[in-house]
Assembly symmetry: D2
Homo-oligomer: 281 residues x 4
Amino acid sequence: MIEGDFKEMGARSVNNIINKGGTILKSARSKEFMTPEGRKKAHENLVKNNIDALVIIGGNGSFTGGLIFNDEYKFPVIGIPGTIDNDIYGTSHTLGYDTALNTVVEAIDKIRDTASSHNRLFFIEVMGRDAGHIALNAGIGAGAEEILIPEEDMGLDRLLDSLRKSKASGKSSSIVVIAEGDKIGKNAFELKDYVEENMPEYDVRVSILGHMQRGGSPSCFDRVLASRLGVKAVETLLEGKSNYMVGLIKDEVELTPLENAVKGKSQVDKELIRVSDIVSI
Amino acid sequence: MIEGDFKEMGARSVNNIINKGGTILKSARSKEFMTPEGRKKAHENLVKNNIDALVIIGGNGSFTGGLIFNDEYKFPVIGIPGTIDNDIYGTSHTLGYDTALNTVVEAIDKIRDTASSHNRLFFIEVMGRDAGHIALNAGIGAGAEEILIPEEDMGLDRLLDSLRKSKASGKSSSIVVIAEGDKIGKNAFELKDYVEENMPEYDVRVSILGHMQRGGSPSCFDRVLASRLGVKAVETLLEGKSNYMVGLIKDEVELTPLENAVKGKSQVDKELIRVSDIVSI
Amino acid sequence: MIEGDFKEMGARSVNNIINKGGTILKSARSKEFMTPEGRKKAHENLVKNNIDALVIIGGNGSFTGGLIFNDEYKFPVIGIPGTIDNDIYGTSHTLGYDTALNTVVEAIDKIRDTASSHNRLFFIEVMGRDAGHIALNAGIGAGAEEILIPEEDMGLDRLLDSLRKSKASGKSSSIVVIAEGDKIGKNAFELKDYVEENMPEYDVRVSILGHMQRGGSPSCFDRVLASRLGVKAVETLLEGKSNYMVGLIKDEVELTPLENAVKGKSQVDKELIRVSDIVSI
Amino acid sequence: MIEGDFKEMGARSVNNIINKGGTILKSARSKEFMTPEGRKKAHENLVKNNIDALVIIGGNGSFTGGLIFNDEYKFPVIGIPGTIDNDIYGTSHTLGYDTALNTVVEAIDKIRDTASSHNRLFFIEVMGRDAGHIALNAGIGAGAEEILIPEEDMGLDRLLDSLRKSKASGKSSSIVVIAEGDKIGKNAFELKDYVEENMPEYDVRVSILGHMQRGGSPSCFDRVLASRLGVKAVETLLEGKSNYMVGLIKDEVELTPLENAVKGKSQVDKELIRVSDIVSI
């Protein structure tokens, strides 16, 4: 928008890209758009090119920018929640989240192959920013013995207790999934040191899954969700509405005021934490 | 149950199987259980082995058997919907369905690679029994140009129209996803003949995805859903209830009377048919 | 070449396509090039665009066309063997073959999940034209109980014998991999009828893997092989040579006269047939 | 062997495990076997159980143990090279290596999705102990802009030069694959600091792929190779031979004296380094 680099798209323009990870737009965080001058330039370019609305795929930062832009120029904006972290209020699923869960679970399946080979304890750190969605769901999905998420302060003693119980119950190896934003007070490497000190019988390994979680061919769920949200975003604009985020709530596509989406806090499913405690005995 | 072949299981018995497709139980359709004598034998064996409830993973057939068994012997039964076809009333997702969607979409992605190489029209038949869930969702997910499901009588003329429009819009190749139970009046091979007769410019290929759709390592969604439904099934029995199916309704685990699950009919999402019409232009 | 549709390519032109299946060239069998007029037009266009050599990725048909073209116009041509069928003389591996093997093995793994669930016999037909390379290697890789390839006339009696032995040895289900070009005298569906007639205890299913075998993201082996063959093709042309195919022979990139590549016949590894007989007991 | 924990295996004992990663044997490095007392116990147990030969799947450590054991007790031993690192003399491919290459390439494909989205430089560290096999092959396979292996001392200046050229040639993002044993004098994190200091325009990220490289369902190549090596190992023992490693040399299964396998050094393909320099411009 700031560089005036536009391209008209038709139905065929997205031909054969539904199976690709990443973005074909190559847009990224823009410092210039954070300045009034940047936004002025963007608005002039939009008007000059007869563009009359913005659909913003992103998270809180992008949505906040959209709200400011709308406030200044009355330019219609609709948000689509796109992040693997699932940490956006107003939708049960963000675009990319389901794909990331499958990527994480496949990676942990591979690590477990080596864990059961070699009698080890693995600390696996997954993404999620300040939210435990990925850790909790992928942890259950991967059959982790323990899941550490920022929403639950487990405490180091309880971790040791749990690992001891797991060992006693006959497990020869264990997987602990740790959310990157975990507030347990120690990071994965410090945790490793702590456990090795207290349970010297364990050979602890750390694996940080890293950026591969952000790519990959999208899952069917994400592709269908993207289609549903995209249709709703355009139809909402055609109805003359602005400043909404389209999202999935209880399996239905719903609108949430963009302001609420930005201010609200997505919650991990407390019931799922309970399920996780039961199945990871 | 009929052969008296039981095995006590603890928390460790399912260690390291969460990532496996298929069943470790190796149970299958039993003709003997359909007879009063067979069920009598099953009941005696259950009682003899101090088993006091049944959790049945399956579809309408298994649930009907469970209801009859409960009626005859007052034996507590809970059903868990397990089929890739997603054709069970009382749950938005059956176990295995999400995995099958990803398998189908990956297979069609591969076929599309060759379609764009060689200017072809592909008719791809997917599973789903009498329901179009897999075809509709995987069709959208795979970017199919046309989706034929039993719930919608498209008519052959509209199919030709749609293919002509797709060709005119610049697509050099097309994917048509067909549900196996499609009631369009012709099967995939007959459709091929019909289209080739009327659009000789197309080189039509047929691919029946077949049994690979029923296997494979489960998706994270299916693993988490299985954990949630399993916990609920056991807790429902512990509460003294019987004759319910546990299922997912609007993202929550809910109970549906087993009788309703058997009699009801799962519906494809009409809104999704509309989305599919829009995105597959 | 015939349409004069050229595009200059540099080192960056193939940026980020190494992971894609299919072809970005979208070239295909050309009837016009089979005529002297077509080739004349092609030659004129090549000369007009200052192109001084051809690298042909394909199989026998494309190479034959290249030889005729070279014969008529003394235009330098080098062939690169590209087909999933691995049926080209002068190379142990064609481009795409290793990827197809992995695709087939993954598909059969999924089918086996359902086979062990349900006590079945599966006939799985794989590609390979008149050669058994895919069937033999993927059959061993997938742990098939029996592999039927055109290079070996097994005879129907031996098939039944083998299935009976497999059953007697305790296998509850069996996978039979059949090459599409199998000369056993019956196709997969006729074989099914024959076996069911003679071994009614089996529930036989047929799966034709089909076109998905031709697509998908290439394996590391295929990507490295493509890089090696591409470099050698260009360097061979720079040395002033023509009418060679570059191929892999005993792990080294070697040149084979294109005429020999066309006339020769690739052989399945007889030793591998022996290994297959041993491991598939 | 030391614990006397044996299990007789027949043809059916490995039923349905060909698709699994990891080991079902759960054997691992044994300190006791490194002592004369441990080996004495092992020999007594073997004799007591009528076992008359050992097939050792492993690397230099396991083979050295086997040689000492044979020296002390004249007990027949045959080695099968099993490690993802491909660093064993006497075979072009070790078991697990091809699978690891595909795992690494798939992971880097995912990371590249995010790299092209966000204009970044990625340093990706892969396994390989002191050998660059994985880094070199997976680096070419993943289209890496630069590959750092212990066999080639690139020097930091040349790395910066190369990155600058890559940037100048129009690449918006770059992948650098680093072997874990790289002798460039800095590890991945130190390299990151160095590059960011000298090329502040880059946002450098580090990803250590880690233990997931050691697991996962084996590729078709690895499954076929395992079948071939296994058959040869047993047949070699039946011929009364001992102290050999079976391996793949120029596409044929060959014997190498176990002592040479232990003392020799596997070499990366120098020609491949040249290819990598050409294709990664």
